[in-house]
């Protein structure tokens, strides 16, 4: 039991008729970066807010640091300020009327730390995050990247058992986001911080996380390590996040995994025994071979991506995405094959 810092059991939350979170159950280990990934509207932010205490779940149990902080049956609901977590929201929410220094010190003041210790901690954390020169500025005088660092500093200053992150990098531009990702992972690992990290960006989650929960329509569908979740192609909603091709097909021989994708054209998938009849076939754009054998497809559009091409191909009624180094003419017919494709039931 002791190795879990956070245990969530059967947590549900509805807004009117909309079920935002349904029966969420998971545990987070000490020192782990645990991500919750899902498209927008999947309920991931609501789940995070329930754990932080900003939202009250309808049902379920939350145990944090061996203490029950929420239990719908026993009527326990510890207010957010008494839970001992910290929070980095999507908008960062730096208090505009306080200098950076006071923003960072706020939580420490609220928790009754003596003044000297607050000063020491603010100095320590701002040095570690290289924001010392910003301490006497107001939030509006900072760039996006600086604001993001201050928001993280504010959360770290409390030396919390758990930091809640709600898409903290989504307000940064692409180049800065890459950089912040590396910085954040190193920081959390060096300080051995446990983090619950919500994002809609699967690649960000792969990079940062020790484990990832994939959430869709209010339910946690799967919890895996980054390596394993990348292999899970039998969940179409997850495959869509990865940008995989998903086409409709018909299973001809479910013993061998033989699938008809087009009239009289077949491929073999690597997970037989799964589904019968109409199904979905899922494969990655980078794992398609273009050559002289396989299924016929038509090149619709070619885009040069620097070092490789990205193609739109018409395959029967489907349009698929293919990444290849080969140069193909727009409008020409080609033959494609793949050695890794997965059958999934139609949902």
């Amino acid at each position: 039991m002791g190795s879990y810092i956070l245990q969530v059991e059967n947590l549900s939350k509805s807004f009117g008729k909309v079920k935002a979170v349904i029966n969420a159950t998971f545990n987070v280990n000490r020192g782990e970066i645990f991500s919750i990934v899902g498209p927008s509207g999947s309920g991931k932010t609501t789940l995070l807010r329930c754990i932080g205490g900003i939202e009250t779940p309808d049902e379920g149990v939350i145990v944090f640091n061996d203490r029950v902080i929420f239990d719908s049956k026993r009527g326990i609901n510890v207010p957010p300020e008494a839970r001992g977590m910290s929070y980095v929201p999507q908008t960062w929410a730096l208090w505009p009327h306080m200098k950076v220094r006071d923003n960072i010190a706020f939580g420490l003041k609220m928790r009754g730390f003596p003044r000297e210790e607050i000063d020491v901690r603010v100095r320590e954390i701002s040095k570690a995050l290289k924001i010392e020169e910003l301490l006497d500025r107001y939030p509006w005088q900072l760039s996006g990247g600086q604001q993001q660092r201050v928001a993280v500093a504010r959360a770290l200053a409390l030396k919390p058992q758990l930091i809640l992150f709600d898409e903290p990098l989504s307000n940064l531009d692409a180049a800065l986001r890459e950089e912040a990702r590396v910085w954040l992972k190193n920081l959390l690992k060096e300080l051995n911080i446990t983090a619950l990290y919500v994002t809609h960006d699967i690649h960000e989650a792969l990079f940062l996380s020790d484990r990832i929960a994939f959430m869709y329509d209010g339910r946690i569908r799967v919890i895996e390590t980054p390596e394993n979740i990348y292999m899970r192609r039998d969940i179409p909603e997850l495959a869509r996040l990865f940008g995989y091709n998903i086409i409709k097909a018909r299973v001809i021989d479910h013993e061998r995994g033989l699938v008809m994708v087009n009239e009289e054209e077949y491929i073999t998938c690597d997970n037989p025994h799964k589904v019968k009849g109409d199904a979905l076939v899922i494969f990655a754009p980078s794992e398609v071979k273009v050559g002289y054998s396989g299924i016929k497809a038509k090149v619709l559009r070619r885009s040069f991506m620097g070092g490789y091409f990205e193609y739109s191909l018409k395959l029967g009624d489907n349009i698929i995405r293919v990444i290849s180094e080969a140069y193909l003419k727009e409008g020409s017919d080609v033959f494609i094959s793949t050695n890794r494709c997965t059958i999934a039931p139609i949902t």
Binding site: I54, E81, S86, T91, A93, W95, H97, G107, M110, A155
Partner: protein, 516 residues
């Protein structure tokens, strides 16, 4: 917070109830005897005076709406009753520029419209400022000229603001008391409010059921209009949802010189004709010994009278004390209302408070004062009636529709996440209010306080029935003086209010106040 909001909102509900109950009760409410009857209702409704007053109310309200919505600009901080005098002294039969030989509902409707132009202007301007300018830019680039862009893009986009302004003016029109009292009553015309005011003088024996019928008619009209307004606004806003972030740049539309000159001329004419001349006439009247044009003598006697007479001195002090109390009490009440509406966890309570806080919008000041009179007489709060606090409480509750919108707006501008982070980082709700909300709202709290204070100084209709000998304020004193012929004193008292209001208005504009 929630409890305070609930109690205050319930008082508003009681006030409306009292009016209706008295209307069907043959005996005065304070006798605690109920004798249900529809006789008075039928009698009043059938009386020709009532019918005439009703028709006049409709004329004034509709004209005020049309004229008010059509043009635009200048302070809305001067009480209508003072405008009444200002217009009488400037354009009245014996004014400085005798434009009108007499006043009738048509003329008064137009005057009311002209002095309410700022309300409409403020609402529409705020719609204009929050509009996405790229919409107009695209229209221009796609080939529409400036006028076509205004007609096809700007005005349709402003429809929600225009609907809001029109319905608001219609409601204010039915509530109009000061201008008709000054300009119409002497000519034998009545609107519903002045008719209501005149009843006790005509029917000395138990005038209350009769008054309640008229007051009930008024609030039935205004409540229906408030409901209509809510419905229309809901429908309009649903149709005009803006998607994504708004681009807040300023796009200066190039306009033909002729049209620009025309707009400038209209604005100038308005400012001079509607604002400056009447106000100047009022001030002039307060320093002239005799009424009428062409007199070259000046006097400060009226001001001396006010300063020397103890009762006027007390009136001045009362005005400030009551305004001060009302602004403070109001700020507190509206914050609790707004908090419950915006942050309330129980939706049903939020909706109840939201609805009831907007209900006094339908309570004309005069009617509200009457209802408060009964409320104080019938409840254990009776002793409050003779105090400044009692008067201030009445102000605060009657203004709640306006005040709540003021506070809700600024509360909504503070991102919920600022509170969330504070809570998760260890601050309790109370400390979050102290450390996050109050510092962030400091300026808007000050602005709304000052705004309420100005309303307090100019208020004249609420205290008509509930101000007692010791709590008389400038507004109610002016109303009482109307029959006395003390025109110079009225003008001097009005000038004092105007000057005080204008100074305070300048301050809150300086602080960054935005109308609506």
């Amino acid at each position: 917070m929630t409890l305070l909001a609930l109690i205050m909102a319930s008082i508003a509900l009681t006030l409306v109830g009292l009016i209706y109950v008295q209307a069907v009760n043959a005996r005065p409410l304070y006798t605690y005897k109920i004798e249900l009857t529809l006789d008075v209702v039928i009698e009043v409704i059938n009386s020709s005076e009532f019918k005439e007053a009703l028709v006049n109310s409709v004329i004034v309200a509709i004209l005020q709406t049309f004229v008010g919505v059509l043009i635009g600009l200048i302070p809305m901080f001067i009480a209508p009753i003072i405008w009444g005098f200002a217009w009488n002294y400037s354009y009245g039969p014996s004014g400085f520029i005798p434009l009108f030989r007499e006043f009738n509902p048509l003329i008064v409707g137009i005057i009311c419209g002209l002095i309410h132009v700022p309300h409409a202007y403020a609402l529409i301007a705020s719609g204009l400022l929050s509009m996405d300018y790229t919409l107009e830019e695209v229209a221009r680039i796609h080939g529409a000229g400036p006028l076509r862009t205004i007609a096809r893009v700007t005005i349709p986009m402003l429809r929600p603001s225009i609907v809001l302004a029109a319905t608001l003016l219609l409601i204010l029109g039915f509530e109009q008391f000061g201008v008709p009292l000054v300009l119409l009553s002497p000519w034998g015309y009545n609107v519903l409010t002045t008719y209501l005011y005149g009843i006790p003088g005509t029917y000395l024996m138990n005038p209350y059921p009769r008054m309640a019928v008229v007051a009930g008619t008024l609030i039935t009209i205004t409540i229906s209009l408030v409901i209509l307004q809510r419905y229309l606004i809901l429908r309009e806003t649903r149709r005009f949802v803006t998607i994504g972030e708004r681009y807040r740049g300023y796009f200066k539309m190039s306009m033909p010189t002729l049209i620009k000159a025309m707009f400038t001329a209209i604005t100038l004419l308005y400012v001079v004709g509607v604002v400056i001349i009447p106000l100047a006439s009022l001030i002039l009247r307060s320093i002239q010994p005799l009424y009428g044009a062409g007199i070259r003598e000046f006097t400060v006697n009226y001001y001396l009278t006010i300063i020397e007479s103890e009762s006027y001195r007390i009136t001045l002090i009362n005005t400030f004390v009551v305004a001060l109390l009302a602004a403070t009490l109001g700020s507190l009440i509206y914050f609790s209302y707004a908090w419950t509406i915006v942050k309330g966890s129980r939706r049903i309570i939020s909706v109840y408070v939201d609805l009831l806080s907007s209900m006094p919008r339908a309570l004309p000041g005069l009617v509200a004062g009457l209802a408060f009179l009964w409320f104080y007489l019938l409840t254990p709060l009776r002793s409050l009636m003779y105090t400044h606090l009692g008067l201030a409480l009445a102000y605060a509750i009657v203004w709640s529709a306006l005040g709540v919108r003021l506070v809700t707006g600024s509360l909504l501008q503070i991102s919920q996440e600022l509170e969330n982070v504070a809570r998760i980082h260890g601050a309790s709700l109370t400390r979050t209010i102290i450390h996050i909300y109050i510092p962030l709202l400091k300026k808007s709290i000050l602005i709304s306080w000052l705004y309420l204070f100005i309303l307090g100084i100019r208020e004249y209709s609420i205290p008509v029935y509930i101000a007692t000998k010791n709590t008389q304020v400038i507004g109610s004193t002016i109303v009482l003086l109307i029959g006395s012929g003390e025109l110079g004193v009225i003008a001097a008292l009005s000038t004092i209010t105007v000057v005080a209001s204008l100074i305070l208005t300048a301050i809150i504009f300086k602080l960054g106040w935005k109308p609506y």
